[in-house]
Amino acid sequence: MKTLALRLFFVLALPLLLVIAWWFASDSSTDVYWPPLRTILTTFPDVWTGERLRDDVLPSLLRLLAGYTAAAVVGVALGTVIGSYRRVRAVCEPVLEFLRAVPPPVLVPVIMLFAGIGDTMKIAVIASGCVWPILLNTVEGVRAVDSVMSETARSYGITGSARLRHVVLRSASPQIFAGLRQALSIGIILMVISEMFAASNGLGFTIVQFQRSFAIPDMWTGILLLGLLGFILSVLFRLLERRALGWYHGLRDTSRRSS
């Protein structure tokens, strides 16, 4: 009980300190662009009403989910193929390096030309940005499958889809998850950016609208909400990872203790 309280204190200490610092630093501010935190917090419940959450936040999240899922499926599938065959890898690697180096936001205007300005465009933008870290990490993970493990699988007749499911993907899962984690933050960024270009709803759209109509405290509440959202998503991701990679963390702790 005592250690739990102590841990909670360590987790909350710095955020609290920062909020307090913000509170007092902005308390007597009369600058229009830099309203006191008190004003921002009192505006928050007025701005993010149930209706707004339904009409702006939910569509944003659904687009993020769709784009992210598409990127995960495509990234893991393609990455597994590329990682499994040396020839395919040799052919694909230069192209992948180039495509990865293209900053995803510049794709927004291009994708708009093909996919219009609807949900498809936004999902495509999110997916096209998220897919790279997932793809490249999967390639590395699949390529690094231990040779003894492969031979074990082969000698016991574990081949084909069983090998893929029980050996290759499980063995690559720590790297795949590293890719998924990077992709999540890229996804949130692209979710907002894609809505800033052309949209009629969504979080990014709303924040830009507030800024253009000089509703500055409202704009700040949007930024706070985005931060909170990102935080919640990363906590959820960590819970999922803990479940899926429990064996990996245990294994790593064991080998660290013994070495």
Binding site: V148, I158, Y248, G250
Partner: protein
């Protein structure tokens, strides 16, 4: 049961040509426990991988029950030296043992039965729910042995399985293997670089030469069937046999067969079955 005929394996790559195994011919009868010893780096592992269908030999063939081995045969199970890399760390002990059985399309009840039986034979019933990395090295190798047993193989190939465990655990595992061999009547081919281990375990010891490998000598181990760490290892006969194997390996390293050394003369006269393949000059 297991026939190796004129096996040759040459690795070629990046302009280098390495002849790992030159010409190996020997047989292992059904229900036999044969140990393969040789100087380190003599191509033991290459040989075993060819026999297990994991490597394709350059020439020659391996027959299992009269049929040529082209890929890993279902009647063969492998125990690797690197238990830590051979067990799947994301699966619990039980699932590690069960996975190959799922591939064999056995019914769930039969699988459970085999898994429980195999784990009991190696004394790990209580560890079924643990992850391999939660166990000690010796226990992990027991899991690997259990996985092989549950697979119900005709032939068990063991590639230096105890090279990475401590001496006491090793003695226990040796007795475990001998016990399982006696109970279950599996054919076992046991590769090791440890001469004492080879003599203690085997019914027959095949001594390999340095790479490129040929069979230097085949030696029948005429120790009693009931062996134990305490008495067998101090028996005069054990000492004679191990001395003989040791000399053969030393000779192999020098690249020749010793000509009737005094100490081993009687051993040679009485026991040595001449190698099928004459060593290279």
């Amino acid at each position: 049961m297991l026939d190796v005929r004129g096996l040759k394996k040459v690795y070629e790559g990046s302009g280098r040509r390495v002849e790992a195994v030159r010409d190996l011919t020997f047989t292992v009868d059904a229900g036999e426990l044969v140990c393969l010893v040789g100087p380190s780096g003599c191509g033991k592992t290459t040989l075993l991988r060819c026999m297990g269908g994991l490597l394709t030999p350059t020439s020659g063939e391996v027959l299992l029950g009269g049929r040529p081995v082209t890929g890993p045969p279902p009647g063969m199970a492998f125990v690797f030296q690197e238990y830590g890399r051979s067990l799947f760390p994301w699966m619990r002990v039980r699932d590690n043992v069960e996975l190959p059985l799922k591939q064999k399309k056995l019914s769930p009840s039969r699988r459970r039965e085999l898994v429980a039986d195999a784990l009991e034979s190696v004394g790990l019933t209580d560890a079924a729910g643990a992850y391999p990395w939660q166990l000690s090295g010796g226990m992990q190798q027991r899991v690997a042995i259990a996985r092989a047993l549950a697979y119900e193989p005709d032939v068990l190939l063991m590639d230096e399985p105890f090279a990475a465990v401590d001496a006491q655990t090793r003695a226990d595992l040796e007795d475990l293997v001998r016990g399982l061999w006696q109970q279950r009547g599996i054919t076992i081919l046991f590769v090791t670089h440890d001469i004492d281990e080879a003599v203690y375990l085997g019914e027959r010891v095949l001594i390999l030469s340095t790479s490129p490998t040929v069979v230097q000598e085949q030696l029948k181990v005429d120790l009693p069937a009931e062996r134990d760490q305490l008495h067998t290892r101090v028996a005069p006969r054990f000492a004679e046999l191990r001395t003989h194997v040791y000399e053969q390996i030393q000779a192999a390293k020098r690249g020749r067969v010793p000509g009737g050394l005094e100490e081993t003369k009687d051993v040679q006269d009485a026991q040595v079955v001449k190698a099928d393949t004459p060593p290279t000059p």
